[in-house]
């Protein structure tokens, strides 16, 4: 479904601040695969998501989605096939518009409507049914401004908006990190349900190693713009949080050693 070859991205090249965010990265995702992505800050996780989503063009390398080369496709065109969620619940919704209007806008990815009415009766019933599955009572607040919702409600709404027309690929960038633990759990459950129901190919960045191992079917760990660990199947099932922590720490230890070498 997703096929990434030799993807490179250097920020501020040719300056003392040059930073290699993606270093000849290769990744292949099968249809319906749910991959969790681990890595310390600056490992290149979000950069990878931006490169796939179209926030910027990669310096070199190529990205194929469902057989189509999307490496140089503008961001808004990729959005027709890629759903994205960010850590900031404010980012995915328009606060001064109603729940219904927000949903109508994202639903329009299925077909262009031009000068037709933005929301019709049929859509309204469809939105209501979809919202009621969350059990958050949002279905009775269709005409409420989204700015009035809590972070968790907004994130759940964003999740529905980015999957209401099932995307080829769903990118979740720490989408529960800004929520309180109970809400984060709830949003994560909703995420799993939606992904399972639509059999979405999904990538999820998380710093919670427990959920990285329990969610989805594959876990990758990134460091310095490369994938340093790729776990799936039996190997992943056997991996414990402690085991993965050790791998994490081993990696940090190595970088620490490198620093010492530099300074001595």
């Amino acid at each position: 479904m997703l096929y990434i070859r030799d993807l490179c991205k250097v920020f501020a090249p040719g300056t003392p601040n040059a930073h290699t965010a993606l270093d000849h990265l290769n990744l292949t995702l099968m249809p319906g695969e749910f991959v969790t992505v681990l890595g310390s800050n600056g490992a290149g996780k979000s950069t990878l998501f931006s490169a796939i989503g179209g926030g910027f063009w990669a310096d070199s390398g190529s990205i194929f989605l469902d057989g189509e080369n999307i490496t140089y496709l503008p961001e808004y065109k990729r959005a027709a096939k890629i759903g994205r969620l960010f850590q900031d619940p404010m980012k995915g919704t328009a606060p001064h518009m109603t729940i219904e209007e927000n949903l109508a806008l994202s639903y329009s990815r299925s077909r262009r409507r031009g000068l037709y009415l933005a929301v019709c009766k049929k859509d309204r019933d469809f939105f209501r049914a979809a919202l009621s599955e969350f059990g958050m009572g949002l279905e009775d607040r269709m005409n409420a401004k989204v700015g009035l919702l809590s972070g968790g409600q907004r994130q759940a709404l964003t999740l529905l908006m980015s999957t209401i027309v099932p995307p080829k690929l769903l990118l979740l960038d720490e989408h529960t990190a800004a929520l309180d633990p109970a809400t984060a759990q709830k949003v994560l459950e909703i995420t799993k349900e939606i992904v399972a129901k639509n059999q979405l190919t999904t990538m999820m960045i998380t710093h919670n190693i427990q959920s990285a191992l329990t969610c989805g079917s594959r876990t990758i760990m990134m460091d310095e713009g490369r994938i340093i660990l790729d776990l799936s199947g039996e190997e992943r099932k056997k991996m414990s949080v402690a085991g993965l922590m050790d791998l994490y720490a081993a990696k940090q230890h190595k970088t620490l050693d490198n620093d010492r070498m530099l300074l001595s």
């Binding site: 503008p74 961001e75 808004y76 065109k77 959005a79 027709a80 759903g83 994205r84 404010m90 980012k91 995915g92 919704t93 328009a94 606060p95 001064h96 518009m97 209007e101 927000n102 109508a104 806008l105 994202s106 329009s108 990815r109 262009r112 409507r113 031009g114 000068l115 037709y116 009415l117 933005a118 908006m161 980015s162």
Partner: protein, 304 residues
């Protein structure tokens, strides 16, 4: 009574200007200054065509002229990434020369004795009161434009424009081209502004190259008066309140001029003061509230 009718006529004609300003400043949330050029653009095109004997053609062409100016500003600020304020200034500066060219390199055109939309209407209804006919025409144009816009903002494209002013990222995530959406919205808004100028030229029977100076402040004053008097509740309400605000603004001006409160050349400073005063209300309110809290807090402070 004459004062009332006159204010209603001008209020409706300038109401179209205010609607254009509302679209940019409130719906799109872009400080668009191109109105200073596009208003005169519509006015000049309409006057020049009227002088050539095509007054009816002048009105839609004035609208299209405004659209063109708005589209240029939109193109500059989206595709070429020029700061929105500078993009507007560039458009209005450029349009100054173009407007002069349209007006045959003269700073004003007189339409006295020529057929205009208004005179043609008088000829259609020979018995009717001329002032009332003028009012009817102004109301007709203003109401028709407002009705079209109200419907437009209920369509999918209208929704895209509103969302583009609220959260660009979200619009892009819905696979909608934000740049084109903004360009379209600025074209429509400035089209309304051009239409306002086009009507004004034929209404007053002359066109002046300096008509656009300070026009953004006039439009904003109308928008703000509308908001203060009628509140902010959705786009339909906002459009109606803006037009009503424009009428109230014209009434205030007419009353002030009639009572010789200030000379006519003071109009610009009055609109600037209205805008500044209305915009500063929240800051002043907060300042006063803080002062009160501090005073009470100090009075009740428990000393160690």
């Amino acid at each position: 009574m004459t004062l009332m009718i006159g204010s209603l006529q001008l209020g409706c004609i300038y109401g179209l200007l205010a609607v254009g300003v509302y679209l940019a400043f409130r719906i799109l949330d872009i400080p668009d200054l191109s109105a200073e050029g596009t208003f005169t653009f519509g006015l000049a095109v309409s006057a020049a065509l009227t002088a050539k004997g095509h007054p009816l053609l002048g009105i839609p062409m004035g609208f299209l002229a405004g659209c063109l100016g708005g589209a240029v500003t939109g193109f500059l600020q989206t595709k070429l990434r020029i700061h929105p304020i500078l993009a507007g200034i560039l458009t209005m500066s450029g349009l100054y020369s173009i407007n002069l060219a349209i007006m045959g390199s003269s700073s004003n055109i007189s339409l006295v004795g020529l057929d205009t939309l208004f005179r043609m209407t008088f000829a259609l209804f020979p018995g009717a009161d001329k002032e009332l006919l003028k009012l009817a025409l102004a109301v007709l144009f203003c109401a028709a434009a407002a009705a079209v816009l109200v419907l437009f903002f209920k369509t999918h494209i209208g929704l895209c424009i509103r969302a583009a002013g609220d959260n660009e990222d979200m619009v892009r995530a819905s696979s909608i081209n934000v740049d084109s959406t903004k360009i379209l919205a600025l074209a429509i808004g400035n089209g309304c502004i051009g239409l306002s100028g086009a009507l004004l030229a034929q209404y007053q029977g002359f066109a002046d190259i300096s008509s656009g100076i300070g026009i953004v402040a006039v439009g904003l004053a109308s928008v703000i008066i509308g908001e203060r008097l009628f509140g902010q509740r959705g786009v339909t309400w906002g459009l109606a309140a803006t037009i009503a605000g424009s009428i109230v603004y014209r009434l205030i001006i007419a009353l002030a001029l009639k009572t010789s409160l200030f000379p006519a050349y003071f109009l610009k400073v009055v609109s600037a003061v209205i805008v500044a005063a209305a915009l500063s209300i929240p800051a002043i309110k907060e300042m006063l509230a803080r002062r009160r809290i501090k005073k009470e807090g100090l009075a009740h402070a428990v000393h160690p």
